[in-house]
Structures are given as C-alpha cells and as structure tokens.
Assembly symmetry: C2
C-alpha cells in the first residue's frame, strides 16, 4: 500500500493519451456543455474558434479517466495500491488553447507539494501539477490537483 509518506515531491506519472474526435466532442457536449462551438460544426465556423472545439470539461474528464486507468494499472502490474486519493478540490485550472477534432493530448502528473494537515494528523494533502500537451507540443491544459492521502501507519514499512 502506498501512503502519503511514500510519495516524494517530484514523483512523475505518465497518464497516457486521449484522442478527441468530432464524434466524441459532440457526444460529450450534448450531454454537459451544449454550446454551438462544441456541438455544431457549421455554427462553430462562425464562432471565435473558427471550428468545432472540445468542451473544457471534456478535456478535464479525459484526464480523470486516464488517471483512474493509470492507478488501476499500477495496482495490477506493480502491486502499487494507493491508500485514499479522495480530492478536496483543485486549484488554478487553465484551458490554454483550443482542442480540436483529431487532437491527441498527452497527460502527465507530477507531485509538486505535500501539505501537513494540523486538523487531521493521520492524513496529508498531495498536490500535483497536471498537464495536457497536444501532438504539436503545445501545453493546452493544466491544473493543480489535490488528494487526501493517509499517512503510513506506525510500525509498517514501505514495500
């Protein structure tokens, strides 16, 4: 089991890639963000984007999907099971450039801060910088994620 104490600042995770298509952009946006430039390729041409773009929340949810898959893979392949990981929220989410049909984002995560919780001494908060970079090397998405993580119980050792 991996605890708060076991993760150093600088720990890096490659979360893999997600490809946005006209079909999945429109399907997501019809459910959650039905603005013309997300659901209607013709109307999108006349928008400030000049064409269809993915909802920022689609870009964000793709990160979550890949993060969960990476954690499952780490558990199965390396026995690396994370204790906890529930999030109190995130900081400073930036949609830096449009994501268009055919774009593939590469998502990464790096631990950038560890916070001690005086109110809950058996837990800490991990902060990670999460980045999505497109196939042209442009950083189009970033945010600071946060996760509650229990501390390693006394008398146990990291595996």
């Amino acid at each position: 089991m991996i605890y708060f104490d076991d993760i150093p600042i600088g720990a890096f995770s490659d979360l893999g890639r997600y490809t946005f298509t006209e079909e999945n952009i429109i399907a997501f946006a019809k459910l959650w963000d039905p603005q013309p430039f997300h659901i209607d390729p013709d109307a999108a041409k006349d928008s400030m984007f000049g064409g269809l773009v993915a909802s920022g929340w689609h870009v964000t949810c793709a990160w979550m999907k890949l993060m969960v898959a990476e954690r499952e893979k780490a558990a199965k392949e390396r026995g690396a099971v994370y204790a906890g990981g529930v999030s109190p929220g995130f900081l400073d989410l930036k949609w830096r450039a449009p994501v268009r049909p055919g774009d593939t984002l590469h998502y990464t995560s790096i631990t950038v801060e560890k916070l001690d919780l005086q109110s809950r001494p058996t837990f800490g908060i991990l902060r990670s910088e999460n980045i999505g970079t497109n196939q042209d090397g442009v950083k189009v998405f970033s945010f600071i994620g946060q996760a509650f993580m229990p501390r390693r119980p006394e008398g146990t050792e990291a595996s």
Copy 2:
C-alpha cells in the same frame, strides 16, 4: 447584446437544480471516473464514504449544463444575449461534502470581480463565485469561474 461593461459586481444568477440518482451517478462515472465508490453500490459501502457518491466531475458538469441552459433561457425569454463567455479556466474548486443518490443541488452564480486585461483592451475577465447547495442547505460545491467578455463597442448603448 450584453457586454463586460453591462454586468455589475454582485450580479446574481439562479441556475436551477439537478438531482443525482444512482443511475446517473453510475452512468457518468463509468465513462469518466470509474472508481468503486462511484460505480459499485456494494463496494462503495466499504469505502470511506460508506455508500455510493457522485464523481466530483459529475457535480461540476451538472453546473455547466445548467449554466448553458440559463444563458439560452435568458436569450429566448429576455433577449439577453451574452457576448462571448469563453473561459480561460477556473480557480479554487472545492468539493466540500459528498453528493449521494437522491441529493438535489441548487446551483447559483454571482459576479465577484471584474478584471481589466492590459494585453487585450477590448476584453475583460468576469469572475463569478459558483455554489452548489444540497436540499439540507449544505454548501457542497464551489468554485471561482472566469469568462472572457468583450467590452461594449464605442457608440453603442446597453439595451
């Protein structure tokens, strides 16, 4: 057309309500956040939540859906068409308490800051505090949203 100049600090929008059900919680999470406490009622009983809870991204996407619906309603019923509204990102999103099947969140939005952009003098950034409150009056969700808004062109007047 409603421009940056036309929206005062303190402007309030009631975005309406969204009810979370076991069915929609699981459907969302299977696609985007398939952790056991979001997709499996039995496994969720053994989690730190003690039962099924909605993905925080589901809580967030429900806000977006209601915000788009409110803007469409304002345009249709009151001719209040917002110029722009594309977002550069968000600040300080907090998931303060679990959202469970049967919970209905009431979402509201209030303009809390207006920023001048020296780099783009024809635009400003509106900041809004967005809140989701459950049926027991508990504030379970909040974040500071941001939207680019064009300034009113010279020689025009607010309608």
